[in-house]
């Protein structure tokens, strides 16, 4: 396995190029080779990292140090001292006052990478999930005990102050959602944990459910106290047999210890939990479809408003939160809002759990502070690309955004991603190298959506099916330019007209592909060539003779 140990990035904005970035780049290539480090160190250009007056810049990971301005003559020192011997070359560092925005943020973390910071997964992989005492030994249920000594309003205040935002995909402020439910004056309310986790490529919630189920029970009890609920449901994806089993064991133990049931901690607060297993439909992760499903109806989304916070399960005010969101709650109560805000970025405090898959050397799962970049994740945690160079990534599972190479350095937090018009979603990171064809990827995604569309609203039901057919045609080499226009229209209309998030987000990877990889899609249509050599192109026999591409298939046949 070729695992990259360090990464060298050379800035490549117009100013840097004018000041010799290309020469610096080649000097690095040469010296790295001279020192026999080519296998361990990757080198690439980095674009669009914000303004600075020390161009060209050289950024080296995992230490996250920034050198600048770097001249070809400086390269020998940096390679010898830093990359070979591991000493930072102090005199070439960029003065801190030269840095702003993203660069400043990067520089402020100098030496702190790689920094896995486990809040959500703190106990996972350490404790025995089937033993409540293991959880109690690590401060378990202390937050619940503390909260019962406060008022519900105080509790919601802490969550609001912490800045916690929903990890189920949309990033809605959690404290605000709690206050909506708390505000309603109705005697019966519910708390629901969304553990449907049906987004392909996401398995973060499963780890928590399997590895630390009591954290969810404690968090749900805290939430119930804060919003005034006395009953809760954990809606677990049906395929998660082990998670369902362990959650049931945990609930039983919590009842035996008096941590669920009547008058918890001798207070007036009573709360009990049910486990509800899903039946494998993606749509049941959508909160209103999930509620319908618990009620025993077809899993179809409701029209909103009214929102679940006022009219949810059995028509009562209902709080729906994701597993990862909830797993943050006990730690926030124990350590305080300020502590939580000290992690991550101002707009998105805390950590995020990412599941990494695709063409990288190490797949799996990490929990890191919000605001880390995709490039950092790939190089530091996933130990570099496997079998080629970075082409794109899909964040957030099937409904997520496609991130092209030039957005690799965008900090991964809700607001930075929103500014870049992409979404963070559930935290799945599918990393693709140049061998992945965008048309093929889109086809696979739309195939998923056309099966998972619940069929209630026409734009989604028909739009997903039609888009899939068009993509199949393009992949077969029989797509037309009209198809391309239709596809664009479909992507827009899926987003604008669908009733719920399923159809709305089905169009988003499509839209991204048409924006960032238009030429590649067009080449399937105009040239009948799949640049990644993946699509069947049943026309076959395409010869590459020198630079010439001979096409033995009639245009538009």
């Amino acid at each position: 396995m070729k695992a990259v140990r360090s990464m060298v990035l050379v800035s490549s904005d117009a100013e840097s190029i004018a000041l010799g970035a290309n020469e610096v780049f080649s000097a690095f290539q040469q010296k790295i080779q001279d020192y026999g480090l080519s296998d361990e160190i990757s080198i690439s250009f980095i674009s669009d990292i914000g303004h600075n007056s020390a161009a060209p810049l050289v950024i080296i990971y995992p230490e996250a140090v920034i050198y600048g301005p770097v001249k070809p003559d400086d390269v020998l020192d940096i390679v010898e001292e830093h990359l070979d011997k591991g000493h930072i070359v102090e005199r070439k560092l960029v003065p801190a006052h030269e840095l702003s925005e993203h660069l400043a943020w990067l520089s402020s973390r100098k030496g702190t990478l790689p920094a896995e910071n486990r809040i959500v997964l703190k106990n996972v992989g350490l404790i025995d999930p089937e033993n409540i005492e293991d959880y109690i030994a690590l401060d378990g249920y202390q937050a619940l005990g503390t909260v019962l000594g406060k008022t519900p309003a105080e509790t919601i205040g802490i969550i609001k102050d912490s800045g916690l935002r929903g990890r189920g995909g949309a990033g809605f402020p959690t404290g605000l959602k709690w206050s909506f439910v708390a505000k309603t004056h109705i005697d019966k309310k519910y708390v629901v944990c969304n553990a449907d986790e049906s987004e392909p490529g996401t398995f973060k919630d499963r780890l928590v459910l399997e590895g630390d189920p009591h954290a969810i029970i404690e968090a749900m009890a805290i939430a119930a106290y804060a919003v005034g609920a006395d009953e809760g449901y954990v809606y677990i994806r049906g395929e998660y047999g082990l998670a369902i089993e362990r959650m049931k064991v945990a609930i039983k133990q919590a009842r035996e210890y008096g941590l669920l049931g009547k008058n918890i901690f001798s207070s007036k607060f009573s709360f009990d939990l049910h486990v509800h297993a899903g039946a494998g439909a993606y749509i049941c992760g959508e909160e209103t479809a999930l509620i319908e499903s618990i009620e025993g109806k077809r899993g179809e989304p409701r029209s909103r408003p009214p929102y679940p916070t006022t009219f949810g399960l059995w028509g009562k005010p209902t709080l729906v939160n994701n597993v990862e969101t909830l797993a943050n709650i006990p730690a926030i109560i124990r350590n305080g809002a300020d502590w939580y805000r000290s992690i991550g970025t101002p707009s998105s405090p805390g950590t995020k759990v990412y599941t990494i898959l695709g063409n990288v050397n190490v797949t799996g799962l990490i929990e890191v502070p919000m605001g880390i970049t995709l490039r950092e994740v790939i190089t530091i945690y996933a130990k570099g690309m496997k079998g080629g160079t970075f082409k794109m990534a899909q964040t957030g599972g099937s409904s997520g955004s496609i991130i092209p190479a030039n957005l690799q350095d965008t900090p991964m937090d809700f607001d930075s991603f929103k500014t870049a018009s992409v979404s963070l979603g559930s935290g799945a990171l599918l990393i693709c190298n140049q061998e992945i064809c965008v048309v093929d990827l889109a086809k696979v995604l739309l195939n998923f959506f056309r099966f998972e569309s619940c069929g209630k609203c026409n734009p989604c039901r028909i739009g997903c099916q039609k888009s899939f057919e068009i993509l199949s045609n393009i992949a077969e080499g029989i797509g037309t330019l009209q198809d391309l226009e239709d596809l664009q229209m479909m992507a827009d209309q899926l987003y604008e007209l669908s009733n719920c998030g399923l159809g709305q987000t089905a169009g988003s990877p499509l839209k991204d592909i048409l924006t960032y990889f238009h030429a590649e899609v067009e080449s399937h249509i105009r040239l009948k060539v799949c640049p990644a050599d993946t699509c069947p192109m049943s026309g076959k026999t395409i010869y590459q003779v020198g630079q010439e591409v001979k096409i033995t298939r009639e245009q538009g046949a």
């Binding site: 025995d128 030994a137 202390q142 503390t146 780890l207 590895g211 082990l242 210890y257 799962l365 990490i366």
Partner: protein
Amino acid sequence: MPTIKSLDDLTRIREEVLKKQELITTSGKTEIIVGMGTVGRATGTQEILTAILSYIEEHNLGNVIVRQTGDMGLDSFEPVIQVILPGKERVTYGKLNPEIVKSILSNHVIGGKIIEEFKVER
């Protein structure tokens, strides 16, 4: 079964558990922790666990405690186990099969020598 009626109760139980756990660590017992989440199971931790238990039985290792836990997020390396010798750092091993596990038990658990080849750096 103790019922927890107050924060004091909770603290008391917590301390009891911690004491129990400390007894384990100071009594010179070795801990072996097996990752038994879905990925672990799918890649065969059940067999690993069986191999560990039968090795312990065969060799009469009285001072070893075997525990289970959830997935550790190391999917590329499953099946994964961790070994903690008394007073030593936690060592994580990955990509195991029953044969390798036996050699970990004889070299590391009994012999005290870490097998670098299968160690997973976190």
